[in-house]
């Protein structure tokens, strides 16, 4: 052994004269690093209680608990409670958080004699680190699920404007799976869907490629799945948790994808045969109006083995989806396919039968165990401004019906539409197509009271209108239909709307009379609102029924004050396909309960 190896260790003596390197805690505070993963923070206002944090937590450290917040659209009211006896601080919960409400502070020191203190609900149970600015935040761009919606192929404006061909192509299998993959299955959408469709489950069926299971799930809650897959107002998508930090899941298109994937001939087999009612148990039900509400109720009742006859005044069944929604959004054969399934359940549909004249409500009451009124909103409202009684001032619903029934329509070279809702967009785009066919050019102006930010129409519709060369002039209050010396419509005179709603969001228009314009047009189409044609009820029944602010008064299930009569759909709830479907289900359920003596005697 060299002597140096004996001496060398003595160099350690130098440490005698050095200061210790240890931190004197708690005298010296040592904060965690800016990215430190310490105790959780949750912005309880931003959190929507989707429970995705709980799903991803491999330790089972997170419980979704009721903290007394009422559930509402897109928010379960639940909030995550974290058990720090289990948490491993991996922060996957933060990474996956759909709203970005969850984060981690850099606080890491906390002592407490009570073990239960280490189980709390961040953001609800107040903690000293709640407002700490430092700590783990999900890095920008880092996400555990896809944020961007998978693009849907659609016809280019130039290709679609001259025809009534369907615009949207629908997802192919690969794209649908990609889109379905983005869903986190939180189920927040289900409560918002009026029909409470099994959305996470059928999206899973898309992921699994099990379209038969998907279709069966759809038809459990919605016999208008093909229709809704195209034109549903998809409120579910506004409730979608993925919408907070990205695009909501294309729930509607995925529904459509399922219906597209299953051959029509297989539908009835998958949906299943109706029950056979026990002998003498089968009841008869009359439904007035073959729209989604009436046919859904008919479908449900027929599946239980009852005899249902639907009376429809028009040439074809389908109601507003046929007569209100243009073919380029909803092809007629799609609607027919849905109705075929309903017919296959044994529902009889009598078209061109006007209740009130061909057969009266009293007769229906006498012949049936229950009657369902589902007459929709088919009367167009008028502005009643001066000149609005001119023959070339038309109502949108009437014109749309004419187009559907292929009755001849005089297509004006130019026209003005009044209204900012979907019906206004529908008639504008329909007439634009007819103009294109007749004259090779489009001259349609849409005027609406609302400014664009408050349009009632879907943003997609507004965008597509623009693409198709339709001029939308917002915030215009119609004052007069201008008629020239020869008695021909010349255009529409409007004032600019300064504000349409007051501070409380109530309608209170104020006009700037100095900003007056005349929108030229050979025709003015009013597309402002619709009413139900309740005259068919007859005076006696009208008097007998209880009413609620202009609409037939119904209970939660659609039953009127007359125990044999249910009223459902747009005529009592306002316009929406999927609401109508939901109404149909409720009424059918209520009627079945009444038959079984659970409700009042029918």
């Amino acid at each position: 052994m060299p002597i140096t190896t004996v001496l060398s260790p003595f160099r350690a003596w130098k440490f005698l004269f050095q200061n210790p390197v240890t931190v004197r805690d708690p005298l010296t505070e040592r904060p965690g690093a800016p990215r430190y993963r310490g105790f959780h923070q949750n912005d309880a206002e931003k959190c929507v209680g989707c429970g995705t944090c709980e799903t991803i937590c491999q330790n089972g450290a997170i419980d979704m608990i009721d903290v007394g917040l009422a559930p509402k659209d897109g928010d379960s009211g639940l909030r995550p409670r974290i058990d720090y006896g289990r948490c491993c601080w991996c922060a996957l919960c933060v990474d996956v958080c759909m709203t970005g409400s969850l984060s981690m502070s850099n606080a890491y020191t906390w002592t407490d004699a009570n073990a239960d203190a280490f189980r709390f609900t961040p953001g609800v149970d107040k903690k000293p680190w709640d407002n700490d600015q430092l700590g783990y935040r999900r890095p920008e761009g880092h996400a555990l699920h896809g944020k961007d919606r998978v693009e849907m192929a659609e016809l280019e404006p130039e290709a679609r404007i001259g025809t009534f061909d369907e615009i949207v192509a629908g997802y192919d299998v690969a794209r649908a799976r990609l889109e379905a993959d983005r869903c986190v299955e939180c189920g927040l959408c289900v409560a918002t869907c009026p029909a409470h469709m099994a959305i996470p489950q059928y999206i899973k069926a898309v992921r699994d490629g099990d379209y038969e299971r998907g279709l069966a799930l759809l038809y459990e809650t919605n016999p208008f799945s093909q229709v809704c897959g195209r034109v549903c107002t998809h409120k579910c998508e506004t409730a979608c948790a993925a919408g907070h930090e990205g695009d909501p899941i294309a729930i509607r298109w995925l529904k459509r994808h399922i219906t597209d994937q299953v051959p029509h001939k297989d539908y009835v087999r998958i949906v299943g045969k109706p029950k056979k009612a026990a002998k003498g148990e089968a009841k008869t039900i009359a439904v007035v109006g073959a729209g989604p509400a009436g046919l859904t109720a008919a479908y449900d009742l027929a599946r239980q083995g009852h005899k249902v006859v639907v009376y429809e005044v028009r040439k074809h069944p389908g109601g507003m989806p046929r007569y209100g929604i243009p073919e380029y959004r909803l092809p007629y054969d799609i609607l027919d396919a849905d109705i075929d399934v309903i017919r296959a359940m044994g529902v009889e549909i009598k078209c061109e039968t006007r209740v009130g004249s061909d057969i009266t409500m009293d007769e229906l009451k006498a012949k049936n165990d229950a009657v369902i009124l589902a007459i929709g909103l088919h009367l167009g409202r008028s502005t009643r401004i001066p000149g609005s009684d001119h023959a070339d001032v038309r109502k949108a619903v009437d014109l749309l019906r004419q187009v559907t029934d292929e009755d001849p329509v005089d297509v004006p070279k130019s026209l003005v539409v009044i209204g900012g809702g979907n019906v206004a967009m529908d008639i504008a785009r329909t007439m634009a197509r007819l103009q294109m066919k007749a004259y090779g050019e489009v001259a349609v102006t849409v005027t609406a009271l609302e400014d664009k930010a408050h349009f009632l129409a879907d943003p997609d519709e507004i965008r597509e209108c623009g693409e198709e060369g339709i001029d939308i002039v917002d915030a215009r209050g119609p004052q007069e239909v201008v008629i020239d010396a020869d008695g021909r419509v010349e255009g529409l005179r409007t004032w600019r709307v300064q504000s349409i709603f007051d501070a409380q969001g109530r309608f209170a228009p104020s006009y700037d009379e100095s900003d007056e314009r005349i929108h030229p047009g050979d025709m003015v189409i009013e597309a402002i609102g619709q009413a139900a044609g309740v005259d068919m009820l007859g005076e006696g029944l009208t008097e007998a029924l209880e009413w609620n602010r202009g609409r037939i008064q119904v209970d939660a299930d659609g039953r009127t004050s007359e125990s044999w009569l249910w009223a459902i759909g747009d005529c009592v709830k306002g316009p929406d396909v999927v609401h109508a479907v939901a109404d149909g289900h409720r009424a059918a359920k209520s009627i079945l309960a009444a038959f079984e003596g659970k409700g009042d005697e029918a």
Binding site: T5, P9, A12, A33, G141, H142, H145
Partner: protein
């Protein structure tokens, strides 16, 4: 197979089934348990020694004190849910688990990670290696009574943990290497603070050299002690510094380069004598090499571009049927993950191949025979054993 070279004539005879014929009542032999709580045991493990005088005639490794069944647990977790638990398989050097697991599922799923992520992963692995070696140096000197070295190496390890903390958000279990890349880029000012840490580490390594490696006691107790015949290396699956201490230049970073290693310059450290001192010295030089590699990485790595590949929704991530093996050179040798997938959202089977498994079981049991009781701890530590990776 190499024959047992030790002279066993004065030791107990073997029974027909291969076990030793030891009569404890004879007074000639004694059973002695070293561990699970013992300063010379690197973790929760014990060695059941049969001694004659102060010489060991037989040693058996007992593990299972912290068995958590990770491999089985992973079969019940989705691919993303496995991510937080793999690091816990090895406390002192957790990042290899994260890397091997992530790389295996990425390969099976056909995911290519971004360039910057490769470099950050390499950085983390070298930081982890350095820390692991600091623990080793403290443990090796401690096993021979030199407690102060452990204090110094713990100090620099703590500084490196500070760097880990600011980079990954955690000190021990970093949970930073996600399938698809890494969580984040380097924080502002990281390079300067790392350089400060590296300088402090170099100063400490000088002290370690002077007080440990240049120490007559340490040298006396380690040179020529714990010899492993290099001919045994393949028989016992010996890898890493344990093999390199015996002159075999095995290093996965050089033999089958991964991540950013093809772009880094380094020599594989070897020593000749295959004793405790040689192995310790290889590890000391490995630690210095890590310092150098960290500097190289920070100088060469790209600072822009993504750090995560575009991945599907992690909640539904399914990986096609397949199997693969990913290995890397951890501070103790070959670390690897054998992963089998079956097309579902869960791993079919994950098998973790840690160097301790081979080193501290069959090899140790062989080396321990003829050993002095006093040398058992030094020998055991010189194999750089982390028991949790044996039982996983």
């Amino acid at each position: 197979m190499v024959q047992d070279l030790s002279d066993r004539s004065q030791y107990p005879a073997r029974n027909r089934d291969g076990t030793l014929d030891v009569d404890l009542t004879s007074g000639k032999y004694l059973k002695l348990w070293q561990g699970p709580n013992h300063p010379g045991i690197t973790g929760n493990m014990s060695v059941e020694l049969t001694v004659c005088g102060d010489e060991v005639v037989e040693g058996k490794t007992h593990v299972g004190y912290l068995h958590r069944g990770f491999e089985k647990l992973m079969e019940r977790r989705t691919f993303i849910q496995c991510f937080p638990i793999v690091c816990r398989i090895c406390v002192p050097e957790p990042d290899f688990n994260e890397y091997c697991y992530a790389a295996a599922v990425e390969e099976l799923a056909g995911v290519e990670i971004p360039e910057q992520a490769k470099w950050i992963r390499t950085l983390i692995l070298e930081m982890g290696r350095f820390n692991s070696l600091m623990m080793y140096l403290g443990g090796q000197s401690g096993s021979l009574g030199l407690g102060v070295i452990g204090q110094w190496t713990t100090y620099v390890r703590d500084l490196m943990l500070d760097r880990f903390e600011e980079l990954t958000g955690a000190r021990i279990y970093h949970m930073f290497i996600l399938p698809g890349g890494v969580r984040d880029t380097l924080p502002e000012g990281f390079d300067a603070r790392m350089e400060e840490t590296l300088r402090e580490a170099e100063r400490t390594m000088k002290d370690v050299w002077n007080v440990m490696f240049q120490n007559a006691v340490f040298r006396k107790r380690t040179i020529g002690v714990g010899y492993i015949n290099p001919a045994l290396f393949d028989d016992y699956g010996v890898t890493g510094p344990t093999a390199r201490g015996g002159g075999v230049a095995k290093d996965v970073r050089r033999d089958q380069p991964y991540l950013a290693y093809p772009d880094l310059e380094f020599e594989v450290n070897v020593a000749r004598d295959s004793d405790i001192y040689s192995r310790a010295d290889v590890r000391r030089r490995d630690a210095l090499q890590s310092i150098d590699l960290i500097r190289q990485i920070l100088a060469k790595m790209p600072r822009t571009g993504p750090v995560m590949a575009k991945m599907p929704n992690m909640l539904h991530w399914k990986i096609p049927r397949g199997e693969t093996y990913i290995r890397g050179e951890c501070s103790r040798g070959e670390y690897g993950f054998y992963v089998v997938t079956d097309g579902s959202g869960y791993p079919r089977r994950v098998n973790v191949r840690g160097p301790s498994y081979t080193h501290a079981m069959a090899l140790l049991e062989r080396l321990i025979v003829n050993c002095n009781i006093a040398d058992v701890a030094a020998l055991l530590v010189s194999l750089h054993t982390y028991p949790p990776e044996i039982e996983r």
